[in-house]
């Protein structure tokens, strides 16, 4: 590639928009970042579902092994995190679908929704594990 010095100079001096770290953290921004992080976590969480299905299809011993690991305190902690990430991403996704229709884009409504997503994810996780401890008892 032949580039003139002028081109290089333009590239060096071109003003860039500032990146994330110069902005004050606000609820909608936090939700956006968390939506991506939970999505990434769920991506690898799918390994657990595949592993559990394979164990159930292989043998009683494999299944017992999987159940034991998932039922250990480490397993339960991972599953609580998994369920929270799923609820968070699910509620965040519903928020995005609502925005896609053009509603709730106004600043204060969007902030309110962001807080509701965060609160909702914790409430649903608590409810789920309440039900689980009730069923398992």
């Amino acid at each position: 590639m032949s580039k003139s010095t002028a081109t290089h100079a333009t590239q060096r001096n071109r003003p860039l928009s500032p990146h994330l770290q110069v902005y004050r953290l606000i609820p909608t921004m936090l939700m956006s970042i968390m939506h991506r992080i939970t999505g990434g976590a769920l991506y690898f969480g799918m390994l657990l579902i595949a592993w559990w299905l394979i164990a159930a299809s292989t043998s009683e011993e494999w299944f017992a092994n999987a159940q034991w690991i998932l039922g250990s305190w480490v397993g339960i902690l991972v599953l609580i995190g998994f369920s929270w990430a799923l609820f968070f991403h699910l509620l965040g996704g519903l928020r995005h679908l609502l925005w896609d229709t053009g509603y709730a884009m106004e600043k204060h409504t969007a902030t309110m929704l962001a807080r509701a997503t965060m609160a909702g994810s914790f409430i649903l996780t608590a409810l789920l594990w309440g039900v689980i401890s009730f069923v398992a008892a």
Binding site: T7, A50, A56, L86, L97, L128, V131, I132, A136
Partner: protein, 127 residues
Amino acid sequence: MAQMQTPLRKVRGLGSAKDGTAHFWRVRVTSVALVPLSLFAIGLVVSLIDAGYAETRAVLAQPIVALLLGLFVVISLDHMRSGMEEIIQDYVHGELAKVVLLMLNLFFIIILGAASIFALLKIAFGG
């Protein structure tokens, strides 16, 4: 002659793969389908908390359960593929690393899908 072109002229026509709308639409369609399917999957897991090996397999072998769980897995994987693709394209700028990761993403999705569906079918057909 190359240096006679403005930077804008050089990149014009190179920027878009022209399939952004299809990607966007596919993420939305799969996300809508995953709302009821995820709730079903959560409910199924909760209902199987106390079930042993035989009972779990009997439930998973029911046609409706096998079908819905299969749909949950396949549609989740499609949604995951789109999402991870977007993350890679956003953060990985080296051409080689980007291509390798995009390939690994597809391999991960297809291997996970093949293994899960095989397991589900094996249980459903009583293997």
